[in-house]
Symmetry: C2
Subunit: 529 residues, 2 copies
């Protein structure tokens, strides 16, 4: 094994950009074993762990969202990668991460990050990722890493049971699941499986007759998936929802839309129902929607990207009533279940339908003699990608180390904090809670006083409020929704580090900024008469 | 902050599966701040680093591929996740990884892993992943983490320049790149962009007339992508290649195929050319293929998943001659460029065409006041997924810490070892090198003696040889190809830990097993007459 110094010299050899063949000097250089040397790894690894620990320890000090303008980092970095690493390049790079990069990040792990949905973190989730990257296998078939495939099969059943999913979606009940990167992938895979199943019945050429359904609240990932899968752009029905229904998809409206398409000679294909929409966490009534869909031979997928994590608590089981009838189901454990980015679990009732659409058979893929005659799972046939990460290890560690009860405590603590926030909003009559809180998201807005224009100016008023709230460096970071013409602020409690006092402080900032805005308007109003 | 013991108690609270509402006891439990506590992270993190370092240190001791049968792990694990974690759950889980899981893995990082293509690892790549997971942001828009988006823009330009890509594919030249998980995603994104551009010209309804092209050596990822994108199954032309052309796609054959489709009223859409095919690392002649494609208005994508890494060495620049004319290009830095799984870089000449197909506009996505009026990149619009990982940080660390020269040394050391292996094969007249080595893959086979049936039995003979080679616990692990009816063994040098003696030992095992097989055949032959 070449000593590190030799290796360092090799790395500092002259660049050979103009050469057309391997230069003689390079041909004689030793390979660089220290690139994966155990001792180097240990030394650098401990540096990284301390770095992250310090980041967590000081998280509360960062403004959640940086005050930077486009180009701030691009312009600060060299235009080319270095030819040769500087001395102690790793240490120096870590310093740059601390001094140049972190100050320009939006800190999703900040206890004051209430925007979007959470990017759930835990020590075990983060370290599970580290372990995955260290072991670095590519379990695209059973043979390509048997333990990785088997652990994935075990863990999707564990997770499915923990979330109270029906046995028909689990391996234990003839279905099965897999761990992907994102819900976008899960929805696309399910849609392609449904499409190919339908086209096998009616003929491939009729792809232009297929129609898919969702609500106007469904995440745009679905429209994107439909587009990718070749569904005509105007064959994606985003059915209107209303405030009285809490923005849930109406089975009656769905039935009407499907019937109209059938009457027009089109073919209803797929329904993407949502449990916990992105804007307001609306819950589509799965059971009733399935009844409508099944009468038209339509595949039903449930996207529970965010709210799926809450199903670990039995008190939320009711939100998926009727789930026994769905064809596929997905949720992001990286959103709210302590599994760091990325980890989307997808289950299907009939894996064979996924495989029919996405499966491939190639001789050059090694089969293992041990697996012959066995019906092993080759996950490459379940999804759109061949290369995959060993996400099961992370999810298994999370379930193992926190336990189902620990995950319930985690979810419930956020729900309680959101309840507390909601109570504070309701207690201030200048504000209103726009849609009933269902999980740990509170959608609220400042009422616009009649004398300032009332409903007509409400959206503008709240846009201004959000901007002001987010501009307070030490304050919370929230996002917005615009549903049924109503602009509202979203406070999504879910960062692992968030504690009750962060929620109380966040509310205080909102109140203060609202007071300032209202006072300003008062002055303008009095001046302008 | 609750002390760990309190938190531990909370996690050990009774399960509440039957309850329909939050039980009063749970409502009173504290949240569990130690789930992301800096000190806990530090302690567990150092455990994980030591664990991985020990794994690297002892890597040579594992058989590359385990002797296990399907169900070995599923049957060994409980059917349900634990309700409550056991004491020291993390330590105990790590012991299970060591004792139950690692023995059932295929060790892609073993210095004796010569199968498939490598899953390139480095300390910096692995720790880059750890850092990404620790920081855990979701940079789907510029505003969602400005530094993450900007670093990605910087690093794809750094990488593109290091790989000698034309400026037109870089941000610096009006194009641009992004970091995805896999080539499957890259190919699909490019194909959907091309498809929507074409359909905008000819009308969406003509999706059934579109035809895509590749060779019979192209990775099945392309056929899968075409299927996902709604291209009719029999509209994917896998053009025949032959041994005389080193299994490269022939521009003449391509022209004939495209013309035939045009004559039949169909619409040529997309060519997926490969630089370094999966089976034998064949190189399609990009420049000439582009000339053919452009005369039919066809989008050309280059899939350089494996060989793209070699482009860091100027002596390989010639394999992408003509690349200035392509529309998009992708390579997997996780295959051979020290960036651990996953990291696929994709570049396009016209980002606006990607965005036209995959872009979405939603008010609820936070816009940053700072970015208004600026033409910021929102990577969610470049790909099929919304959630994405901060892969740029890893790739930046790899380029920064090893330097372009270091990466060249890394590639060249593998190429030299593959050359050495090739020389050894050629020196044993019982064997032949089937296709000229181009990078660090050697495709070879044992010649079948005439008296044993010659060519007629050659494939069977080599299948047997591979099985025997891979069955030697302390030996190499290789895979196979079957091209033009010829079954061959593949020895892909690329594991970071591989040194010259591993390659020499691997060859010795192959020779030994061949001798045994030939001797056995000799006996059978003499007995049977």
């Amino acid at each position: 094994m070449a000593p590190p110094s030799q290796c360092f010299d090799a790395m500092h050899g002259a660049a050979n950009d103009g050469a057309a063949t391997v230069p003689a000097a390079a041909a004689g250089t030793p390979q660089c074993p220290n690139v994966l040397d155990a001792d180097v790894f240990r030394r650098q690894g401990h540096q990284v762990i301390d770095f992250i620990a310090e980041y967590y320890g000081g998280m509360g000090e960062y403004p959640v969202h940086p005050s930077v303008t486009p180009g701030f980092l691009r312009n600060a970095l060299p235009k080319d990668a270095p030819s040769r690493p500087e001395p102690d390049a790793f240490g120096s790079a870590l310093r740059d991460v601390r001094d140049l990069i972190l100050p320009g990040m939006t800190h999703w792990q900040s206890p004051r990050h209430f925007a979007h949905f959470p990017a759930s973190s835990s020590t075990v989730g983060a370290l599970g990722e580290a372990l995955i990257a260290g072991i670095n296998v590519v379990p695209f078939t059973w043979a390509a890493s048997p333990a990785a495939t088997e652990l994935e099969m075990v863990v999707v059943d564990w997770l499915g049971k923990a979330l109270h999913l029906p046995e028909s979606l689990l391996f234990a009940g003839g279905g099965g699941g897999t761990l992907l990167g994102t819900s976008c992938e899960a929805i696309l895979c399910a849609l392609v499986a449904a499409r190919d199943k339908k086209l096998a019945e009616i003929g491939e050429r009729r792809i232009g007759d297929l129609v898919v359904y969702c609500s106007d609240q469904t995440h745009f990932a679905f429209r994107k998936a439909a587009r990718i899968a070749g569904i005509l752009r105007d064959h994606c029905r985003a059915i209107h929802t209303c405030r009285e229904d809490m923005f849930a998809l109406s089975p009656t409206e769905l039935q009407a839309a499907m019937q109209a398409d059938v009457d027009a000679g089109l073919v209803p294909l797929f329904l993407c129902a949502t449990v916990g929409t992105t804007q307001t966490t609306a819950v589509d009534p799965i059971g009733k929607l399935c009844a409508v869909a099944s009468s038209h031979g339509v595949w039903v997928h449930v996207d529970a990207a965010y709210a799926g994590s809450a199903l670990v608590c039995p008190e939320f089981r009711h939100v998926i009533e009727g789930v026994e009838s769905v064809d596929s189901f997905s949720m992001n454990a990286h959103k709210w279940l302590l599994a760091n980015n990325d980890c989307c679990a997808m289950w299907v009732k009939k894996p064979s339908e996924l495989i029919a659409a996405l499966g491939t058979e190639q001789e050059y893929i090694l089969k293992d003699a041990a697996s012959e005659g066995h019906d092993v799972v080759d996950y490459k046939d379940w999804t759109m990608t061949l290369t995959r990460r060993f996400r099961a290890l992370k999810m298994w560690l999370v379930l193992r180390c926190y336990g189902v009860d620990g995950l319930r405590d985690h979810i419930r603590s956020h729900v309680r904090m959101a309840e507390a926030f909601e109570d504070m909003v309701r207690a201030d009559e200048r504000f209103e809670v726009v849609t009933e809180r269902q999980f740990a998201l509170v959608c609220f807005r400042l009422r616009s006083p009649e004398k300032f224009g009332g409903e007509k100016t409400a959206n503008e008023l709240n846009r201004g409020l959000l901007e002001e709230v987010n501009a307070v460096g030490s304050g919370p970071y929230m996002s917005s929704a615009n549903v049924g013409g109503i602009y509202m602020l979203r406070c999504a409690v879910g960062s692992t580090l968030t504690e009750e006092h962060h929620v109380a402080d966040a509310w205080k900032v909102v109140q203060d900024r609202a007071s300032v805005i209202l006072r300003k308007m008062e002055i303008i109003y009095s001046v302008l008469g």
